[in-house]
C-alpha cells in the first residue's frame, strides 16, 4: 500500500502544508513536521493528517487511472520524439565495458615456444656460417666433407634404414644424404639445397645484427666468396653427380624451411613498399592540416569580420600553405591510387582495394576540411570590410544613442519639466496648459524647443550611459571595449561642450534678434500702412483684395524665406485668384472656388471660418476646435487646403505676435545647421507679422468697430465690407487699426493671464506702436 508507485503523483500529496517542502513519503513528511514545525499550531497537525489521508485516497484513485495516463504519455511520445523525456541517447555517459586481457598468458606460452625456435634458428645460422666460411670451390671434396662433418655430427648411416620424410628404403640406388646443418639423413628426393648467395645473405645479416661476435674482416671476404661462387656456378652446373657441393649446401626440409622463414623476415624488415612511404607522407600532411587549418579558420573569420587582429598577408600566406598541403594530399593519394597499376602481373585485388580506400579517405578528408576553409577578402575587400565594420560600430553607437533619445523623449514628455526648458518650449507648454486646443502651431515651436533640449539632454544621458558601460566593461575586464567606449565618451563630451557654447551664442543672438525684429516689425507696419493707404486711395480696391494682393507681394520679394514657404504658398495660391473674383464680388467657380467661398460666401459659411478664427484668437469663445485643426492641416497641406485663406495669415500673425521666439527658434536650428539665410531670416517674421496682422484686422474690423466678437457671430463682415469699402475707406482703416488695438489688448490680457511677461512686453510695445499709428493716421486724415 505504502509503496511509492509514482513519485510524481505521490509528491502532490506529501507537501508540507506549512513550508510546502516536497517530501517523498508520508513518514518523511511526518518526521519533517515533527522536526520543523513542532512548536506551531496544533490544528495544523490535524490538518496534515487529514491531508495525508486525502493524499492516500487520491493516490488510490490515481492508481486506477494510472495506466491510462501512462498510455496517454506514450502517445504524446510519438509526437514529440527527442524532445524531453529520457531518451536512451541521453543516458549518462557510460564507460568502456568490461575487458579481459590474455596477453600475459599468451606471452608466457609464446616465450617458451619462441625461445626454442630462436635457439634453433641461431644454431642453423651459426653452422651455415661455418660452412660458408672457407673457400668451397678451391677446396677438395674430401676436405669439405671433413669440415662439414666437424660442424655438425652426422647421424650414423646404419641407424636410419628409411628416409624419415618419405619412408623409402635406402639402398645403393637410393642413397643416404646428410643434412649439413643438422646432420640428419634423408633421401635425395627429400633433400634441399641452400645456395651460397642465400647462405651469405642469411649469415651476413646475422653478422650485422650480431656484429658483436663476428669480426668485421670476415664479412668482406664472405661477400667476395659469394661473388666467386656465382661466377663458378655456371661452369659447374653439370657437376651435380660428382657430389661436390661447390656452391650449395645440402640440408633437410626442416632446416631449409626455417632458413627460408628467416630470409623472409629479413626481407620484410628491410623492405618498405612504396605505398607505405607515400602513405606516411600523406599522414604527415594530414596532421599538418589538422594543426594549421583551425588556426587559419580563426584568422579568416576574424579578417572577414573586418577585424584587424591578424594581418591579411599572414593569413593569405597561411592559406597558401594549407592549400599547398591539400594539393600535396591530393597528389599523394592519387599516386597511391595508381601505384603499380601498370605492372605486368597486375597487383592483388586487395592491394588495389587498399589503394582505392586510401584515396577515398583522403578525398573525404579534403572534402571535409578544405571546403571548410573560407576564402580571404582581397585587399580592397578587406579595406571595405574594415570600413563596413567601422560603420557598423558607428551605426550601433547611433542606434544606441537613438534608443537613449527615445527613452529620454518619453521621459521628458512624462515629466514636462517646465523649468528646465527653453523659454519657447515654456510658452508653448504653458499655452497648452490652460487652453490646449487653441494653438495647434504651438506644438511646432514646442517640438522645436524640445528638439533643442533633447539634443542636449540625450547627450548628457548618453554620456551617463557610456560612463556606466565603461564601468561595466572594466568590471568585466574587457579592456579593448573600455578603450572604444572611452573614445566614444570623449567624442560625446566634445560635442556636448560645443553644443553648450553654441547654445549660449544662440541665446544672446536671439535676444538681439528679438529686438531687431520688434524694431523692424514696427517699421514694416508703418510702411505697410502707408502703402495701403496709397493703394486704396489710388485704385479703389476692396480691402480684402488689396490685402491679398499685398499679401502675395512680400513673399515674392523674399524668396529666401525657408521656414514658412509653405505658408507663403498657401497665401500665394489663395490670393492670386482672389483679386479677380473679389473685385467683381461674384464667386467665379472656375477661378477659385475655395477663396470665393470664404470671402464672398453666404453668411453661413463666413461665421464658420472667419468669426471663429477671430474668436479663437481671443480665446474667449469655446468653439475652437475646427479652427485649430484646420490650422494644423492648412500649413501642412501647403496651400492645397486653402479655405481659410485668411486664417494662415491670422495664425501666423498671432504666432508672430506672441511667439516669434519659437518661430525664430526654427530658424535658429537652421542657423546651427549652417544655413546662410540666418541673417535675412532674422528679419523675416516682422514683415510677415505685419502683413498678416494688418489685413486680418481690416476685414474683421469694419463691421463691428467696437466689439468684434458679437459682430463676428451674427453678420457677414465681408459683404458689408465690400459695400461700405468704397465709400469710407479711411474710417475703416481707422477702425481696422482700432480693431487691431483691441486685439492686441486682448492678447496682452491673455498673455498676462498666462504669465508670459516677455510677450506682454512685446505686445504692449506693439500696441503702443499701433496707437501711435492710429493717432498719426487720424492726424493725417483730418
Amino acid at each position: 500500500m505504502a509503496s511509492l508507485d509514482d513519485p510524481g503523483e505521490v509528491r502532490e500529496g506529501f507537501l508540507c502544508p506549512l513550508c510546502l517542502k516536497d517530501l517523498q513519503s508520508f513518514y518523511q513528511l511526518q518526521s519533517h513536521y515533527e522536526e520543523e514545525h513542532s512548536g506551531e499550531d496544533r490544528d495544523v497537525k490535524g490538518q496534515i493528517k487529514s491531508l495525508v489521508q486525502k493524499a492516500r485516497k487520491a493516490k488510490n484513485r490515481l492508481l486506477k487511472r494510472e495506466g491510462d495516463d501512462r498510455a496517454e504519455a506514450g502517445t504524446q511520445g510519438y509526437e514529440s520524439f527527442s524532445y524531453g523525456g529520457v531518451d536512451p541517447y541521453l543516458w549518462e555517459p557510460q564507460e568502456l565495458g568490461a575487458v579481459r586481457s590474455h596477453l600475459s598468458d599468451f606471452k608466457k606460452h609464446r616465450a617458451a615456444r619462441i625461445d626454442h625456435y630462436v635457439v634453433e634458428v641461431n644454431k642453423l645460422i651459426i653452422r651455415l656460417e661455418k660452412l660458408t666460411a672457407f673457400d668451397r670451390t678451391n677446396t677438395e671434396s674430401a676436405k669439405i666433407r671433413a669440415i662439414e662433418k666437424s660442424v655438425v655430427p652426422w647421424v650414423n648411416d646404419q641407424d636410419v634404414p628409411f628416409c624419415p620424410d618419405c619412408g623409402n628404403k635406402f639402398s645403393i640406388r637410393n642413397r643416404r644424404h646428410h643434412c649439413r646443418l643438422c646432420g640428419s639423413i634423408m633421401c635425395k628426393k627429400c633433400m634441399e639445397l641452400v645456395s651460397l648467395p642465400l647462405a651469405y645473405k642469411l649469415t651476413s645479416a646475422s653478422k650485422d645484427s650480431l656484429s658483436a661476435h663476428t669480426s668485421p674482416s670476415q664479412s668482406p671476404s664472405s661477400v667476395h666468396g659469394s661473388r666467386r661462387g656465382s661466377i663458378s656456378s655456371v661452369s659447374s652446373v653439370s657437376s651435380v653427380l660428382d657430389e661436390k657441393d661447390d656452391e650449395r649446401i645440402r640440408c633437410c626440409t626442416h632446416c631449409k624451411d626455417t632458413l627460408l622463414k628467416r630470409e623472409q623476415q629479413m626481407d620484410e624488415k628491410e623492405h618498405t613498399p612504396d605505398i607505405v612511404k607515400l602513405y606516411e607522407k600523406l599522414r604527415l600532411c594530414m596532421e599538418k592540416v589538422d594543426q594549421k587549418a583551425p588556426e587559419y579558420i580563426r584568422m579568416a573569420a576574424s579578417l572577414n569580420a573586418g577585424e584587424t587582429t591578424y594581418s591579411l598577408e599572414h593569413a593569405s600566406d597561411l592559406r597558401m600553405e594549407v592549400q599547398r598541403v591539400y594539393e600535396l594530399i591530393d597528389a599523394l593519394s592519387k599516386k597511391i591510387l595508381t601505384l603499380d597499376l601498370k605492372q605486368d602481373p597486375p597487383p592483388h585485388p586487395n592491394t588495389l582495394r587498399l589503394q582505392r580506400m586510401i584515396r577515398y579517405s583522403a578525398t573525404l578528408f579534403v572534402q571535409e576540411k578544405l571546403l571548410g576553409l573560407m576564402s580571404l577578402p582581397t585587399k580592397e575587400q578587406f579595406e571595405e570590410l574594415k570600413k563596413k565594420r567601422k560603420q557598423e560600430l558607428e551605426r550601433k553607437r547611433i542606434l544606441e544613442r537613438e534608443a537613449a533619445l527615445e527613452s529620454q523623449r518619453r521621459l521628458e514628455e512624462r515629466q514636462s519639466d517646465l523649468a528646465s526648458r527653453a523659454t519657447n518650449g515654456e510658452v508653448a507648454s504653458l499655452r497648452r496648459g490652460p487652453a490646449p486646443l487653441r494653438k495647434a502651431e504651438g506644438w511646432l515651436p514646442l517640438s522645436g524647443g524640445q528638439r533643442q533640449s533633447e539634443d542636449s539632454d540625450p547627450l548628457l544621458q548618453q554620456i551617463h550611459n557610456i560612463t556606466s558601460f565603461i564601468r561595466q566593461a572594466k568590471a568585466a575586464g574587457r579592456t579593448d571595449e573600455v578603450r572604444t567606449l572611452q573614445e566614444n565618451l570623449r567624442q560625446l563630451q566634445d560635442e556636448y561642450d560645443q553644443q553648450q557654447t553654441e547654445k549660449a551664442i544662440e541665446l544672446s543672438r536671439r535676444q538681439a534678434e528679438e529686438e531687431d525684429l520688434q524694431r523692424e516689425q514696427l517699421q514694416m507696419l508703418r510702411e505697410r500702412e502707408r502703402e495701403r493707404e496709397q493703394f486704396q486711395a489710388a485704385s479703389l480696391h476692396t480691402r480684402t483684395r488689396s490685402l491679398d494682393f499685398r499679401d502675395s507681394r512680400p513673399f515674392q520679394l523674399e524668396p529666401g524665406r525657408e521656414p514658412r514657404t509653405h505658408l507663403a504658398h498657401a497665401l500665394d495660391l489663395g490670393s492670386s485668384p482672389v483679386p479677380g473674383s473679389a473685385a467683381r464680388k461674384t464667386p467665379s467657380p472656375s477661378s477659385a472656388l475655395e477663396p470665393s467661398r470664404v470671402w464672398s460666401g453666404p453668411p453661413a459659411l463666413g461665421p464658420g471660418f472667419l468669426p471663429q478664427s477671430i474668436t479663437s484668437q481671443h480665446s474667449e469663445v469655446p468653439s475652437l476646435n475646427p479652427f485649430d485643426e484646420e490650422d494644423l492641416c492648412s500649413p501642412a497641406a501647403e496651400g492645397a487646403a486653402s479655405p481659410p485663406v485668411a486664417e494662415p495669415p491670422c495664425d501666423s500673425a498671432v504666432r508672430a505676435h506672441k511667439e516669434y521666439n519659437p518661430f525664430e527658434e526654427e530658424e535658429e536650428e537652421e542657423a546651427v545647421a549652417g544655413n546662410p539665410f540666418t541673417d535675412p531670416d532674422s528679419s523675416v517674421p516682422s514683415p510677415f507679422d505685419e502683413e498678416d496682422e494688418c489685413p486680418h484686422q481690416r476685414p474683421s474690423g469694419p463691421p463691428v468697430p467696437g466689439n468684434p466678437f458679437e459682430e463676428a457671430l451674427c453678420t457677414n463682415p465681408f459683404e458689408v465690407d465690400g459695400d461700405s469699402g468704397r465709400e469710407g475707406e479711411e474710417p475703416i482703416e481707422e477702425e481696422l487699426l482700432l480693431q487691431q488695438i483691441d486685439n492686441i489688448k486682448a492678447y496682452i490680457f491673455d498673455a498676462k493671464q498666462c504669465g508670459r511677461l516677455d510677450e506682454v512686453e512685446v505686445l504692449t510695445e506693439n500696441l503702443r506702436e499701433l496707437k501711435r499709428t492710429l493717432a498719426r493716421q487720424k492726424g493725417g486724415a483730418h
Binding site: G74, L103, Y117
Partner: protein, 570 residues
C-alpha cells in the same frame, strides 16, 4: 545502458590501441554484422582502417605494411583460422580481440602458433551481440527452440550473447524468468552459471539497486509479432524487412541500381533517427518537409552556376548536398514503397481488424470482419492467414469458435497449405495452454479500469491501439508488482526496491513494437532504464518461420483435426 554505444566504444578502443598506420580489420561472419551496426565505412576509414577482411577468406594477400585488428567470436573454427594466420602471418602485427570468453587452451595454442611474434594484443571485448537501437539488441538467431526446448547450440550462443551484454554494460544482475517457459528457466540458469564461473569478470562497482535481468518467452505473447505496424522502423521491418539495418529494395518495381539495398541507421541518418518512432502519417509530412528542404538546398544548375563564385558555393556545399540527396532519395523510396504496399495489400483495413482482434472482445463483429476481408481479393494469403491466426489465438476457447469455418474460407480463398498449417502451429506455439498469463481478458482491477476507460473515451488511433503484453509486464516490474509466482527470481535473493536498470530478454525474438514500448517507457519513467533484447527481432514473416522451425505444428492435435475435417469434407 546504451548498447550501441557500448559496442561502438569497444571498436573504437581496438582501433585506437593499434596506433597509427594503415590497418585491416579481420572479422568473422558474425562480428562483421556487429561492427557494421555501429560504424559506417567512412567513419571507420577516418580511423585509418582501410580494409575489412573475413578471417575465413582464402584470397588474402600478404600485406606486411598493414596492421591487423582481429575481432572474432571465440569459436573453434575462428581459433583454427587464426592459428593458420599466425603461422604464416600476412600482416606485420596482430591485435586480437575476442568477442567473448576464450578458453585458456585456445590462448595457448594461439601463442604457440605465433612463432614470429606478430601478436601484440590478446583481449576479450564483449561486443557479442547486434546492437540495433540504443535500447534494443538482437542475436540474430532464428529458430532457437526445438519444440519447447532449446537447441543446445543456440542456448550456448544466447548465453554468450546475454553475458556479453551484461559485461559490456557492466551489470551483474539478479535474474527473474517466466515460470511458464522451460526455455526461460534454462537460459536463466545458464547465465547464472556463467556469472558464477566468471565471477572475477562480473565484479563491478555495486549500485544501490542491483540491475535486473528478466527473461521472457515469446510464447507468452504470440499476438504482437502477428500485427501490422504503423511506426516507421516497425513498419519497414514488417513490410520490407530489416536485416542488420539493411533493407533489400530489389523487389521494388522500378528501383534504381544504387537503391537496391539501403541502410537505415539512426547513428548516421538524422532523418531516420528523428522519425523511426513516428507513425506513417507523420512520416509522410516529414518526408515532404525533407523534400522541400532538399529542393531549397539543391542548386539549380542552369541559372545558378554561372559564376565561379556559384560553382565554388556549390562545391563547398557538395558533401552535405550529396549526403542529403542520398537521404532524401532513400527515404522517399522507402516511404513510397511502404505506401504502395499499404494500398496494394489493403493494409489499412486489414490492420483495423487485426487491432480489433488483438484489443477487443467482440467475437461476432470480429468474425464478421474477418469473413468480409477473406472475400476481399486484395487481401493477400499472408494477411488472410494472419487474421485467422489472430482469431485462433484470441477465441481459442470461445464457445462459438468458428475456426474450422475460417479455415475453410482460407482454403477457398486459395491460401496455400503452408499458411493454413501455420494457423494451428501458431496456436500450438502461443495458445492458451502454454501461456503463463492471460493475454486477452485482464484479471487485474487496474487493467479492467483501464480498458473500461479506453472504451469510454474511444480509441484515438485504431491502428495503434494495441499495446504489447510486454508493456504491462514491465509496468508491473517497474512498480514492483510483478508477481513472483509467475516470474520467480533465480536464487534465494530478491529485489526489495523497485528496479532501476532492467534488461529484458525475449526468447524467440522481440519485435519493434515492443522496442517502441520500451522506448516510451524509458522516456516516461525517469530513473528507470530498460534495455530490450531478443534472440532476434521479428516481423510476422520471421515469426512464422520461428514457429515453423520450432517444429510444433507436426505434433499438433488441432491441426490434425482440422486437416482431417477438411479432408472429410472433400
Amino acid at each position: 545502458m546504451n548498447v550501441v554505444f557500448a559496442v561502438k566504444q569497444y571498436i573504437s578502443k581496438m582501433i585506437e590501441d593499434s596506433g597509427p598506420g594503415m590497418k585491416v580489420l579481420l572479422m568473422d561472419k558474425e562480428t562483421t554484422g556487429i561492427v557494421s551496426m555501429v560504424y559506417t565505412q567512412s567513419e571507420i576509414l577516418q580511423k585509418e582502417v582501410y580494409l575489412f577482411e573475413r578471417i575465413d577468406s582464402q584470397n588474402r594477400e600478404i600485406m606486411k605494411h598493414l596492421k591487423a585488428i582481429c575481432f572474432l567470436r571465440p569459436m573453434k573454427e575462428n581459433v583454427d583460422y587464426l592459428i593458420q594466420e599466425l603461422r604464416r602471418p600476412k600482416y606485420s602485427i596482430y591485435f586480437i580481440y575476442f568477442s567473448n570468453v576464450i578458453s585458456k587452451s585456445d590462448v595457448k595454442s594461439l601463442a604457440e602458433a605465433d612463432e614470429q611474434e606478430v601478436v601484440a594484443e590478446v583481449q576479450e571485448f564483449y561486443g557479442d551481440y547486434i546492437a540495433v537501437n540504443p535500447h534494443l539488441f538482437s542475436l540474430n538467431i532464428l529458430g532457437c527452440c526445438q519444440g519447447r526446448n532449446w537447441d543446445p547450440a543456440q542456448l550456448s550462443r544466447t548465453t554468450q550473447g546475454l553475458t556479453a551484454l551484461l559485461l559490456s554494460l557492466k551489470k551483474c544482475p539478479m535474474i527473474r524468468y517466466q515460470l511458464s517457459s522451460e526455455a526461460a528457466k534454462r537460459l536463466a540458469e545458464c547465465v547464472k552459471q556463467v556469472i558464477t564461473k566468471e565471477y572475477e569478470l562480473f565484479e563491478f562497482r555495486r549500485t544501490e539497486v542491483p540491475p535486473l535481468l528478466l527473461i521472457l518467452d515469446r510464447c507468452d505473447d504470440a499476438i504482437t509479432p502477428l500485427l501490422n505496424q504503423w511506426t516507421y522502423q516497425a513498419m519497414v521491418h514488417e513490410l520490407l524487412g530489416i536485416n542488420n539495418n539493411r533493407i533489400d529494395l530489389s523487389r521494388v518495381p522500378g528501383i534504381s541500381k544504387d537503391l537496391r539495398e539501403v541502410v537505415l541507421s539512426a547513428e548516421n541518418d538524422e532523418f531516420y533517427a528523428n522519425n523511426m518512432y513516428l507513425n506513417f502519417a507523420e512520416i509522410g509530412s516529414n518526408i515532404k518537409n525533407l523534400m522541400e528542404d532538399f529542393q531549397k538546398k539543391k542548386p539549380k544548375e542552369q541559372q545558378k552556376l554561372e559564376s565561379i563564385a556559384d560553382m565554388k558555393a556549390f562545391v563547398e556545399n557538395y558533401p552535405q548536398f550529396k549526403k542529403m540527396s542520398g537521404t532524401v532519395s532513400k527515404h522517399v523510396t522507402v516511404v513510397g514503397e511502404l505506401s504502395r504496399l499499404v494500398s496494394e495489400r489493403n493494409l489499412l483495413e486489414v490492420s483495423e481488424v487485426e487491432q480489433e482482434l488483438a484489443c477487443q472482445n467482440d467475437h461476432s463483429s470480429a468474425l464478421q470482419n474477418i469473413k468480409r476481408l477473406l472475400q476481399n481479393p486484395k487481401v493477400t494469403e499472408f494477411d488472410a492467414a494472419r487474421l485467422v491466426m489472430l482469431y485462433a489465438l484470441h477465441y481459442e476457447r470461445h464457445s462459438s469458435n468458428s475456426l474450422p469455418g475460417l479455415m475453410l474460407d482460407l482454403r477457398n480463398k486459395g491460401v496455400s497449405e503452408k499458411y493454413r498449417k501455420l494457423v494451428s502451429a501458431v496456436v500450438e506455439y502461443g495458445g492458451k495452454r502454454v501461456r503463463g498469463s492471460d493475454l486477452f481478458s485482464p484479471k487485474d482491477a487496474v487493467a479492467i479500469t483501464k480498458q473500461f476507460l479506453k472504451g469510454l473515451k474511444g480509441v484515438e488511433n485504431v491502428y495503434t491501439q494495441h499495446q504489447p503484453f510486454l508493456h504491462e509486464t514491465l509496468d508491473h516490474l517497474i512498480k514492483g508488482k510483478l508477481k513472483e509466482n509467475l516470474y520467480p527470481y533465480l536464487g534465494p535473493s530478491t529485489l526489495r526496491d523497485r528496479p532501476q536498470d532492467i534488461i529484458v530478454f525475449i526468447i524467440g525474438g522481440a519485435t519493434y513494437e515492443e522496442a517502441l514500448t520500451v522506448y516510451n517507457l524509458n522516456r516516461t519513467t525517469p530513473g528507470v532504464r530498460t534495455v530490450l533484447g531478443g534472440t532476434t527481432v521479428h516481423n510476422t514473416k520471421s515469426f512464422l518461420e520461428e514457429v515453423l522451425a520450432s517444429g510444433l505444428h507436426s505434433r499438433s492435435k488441432e491441426s490434425s483435426q482440422v486437416t482431417s475435417r477438411s479432408a472429410s469434407r472433400r
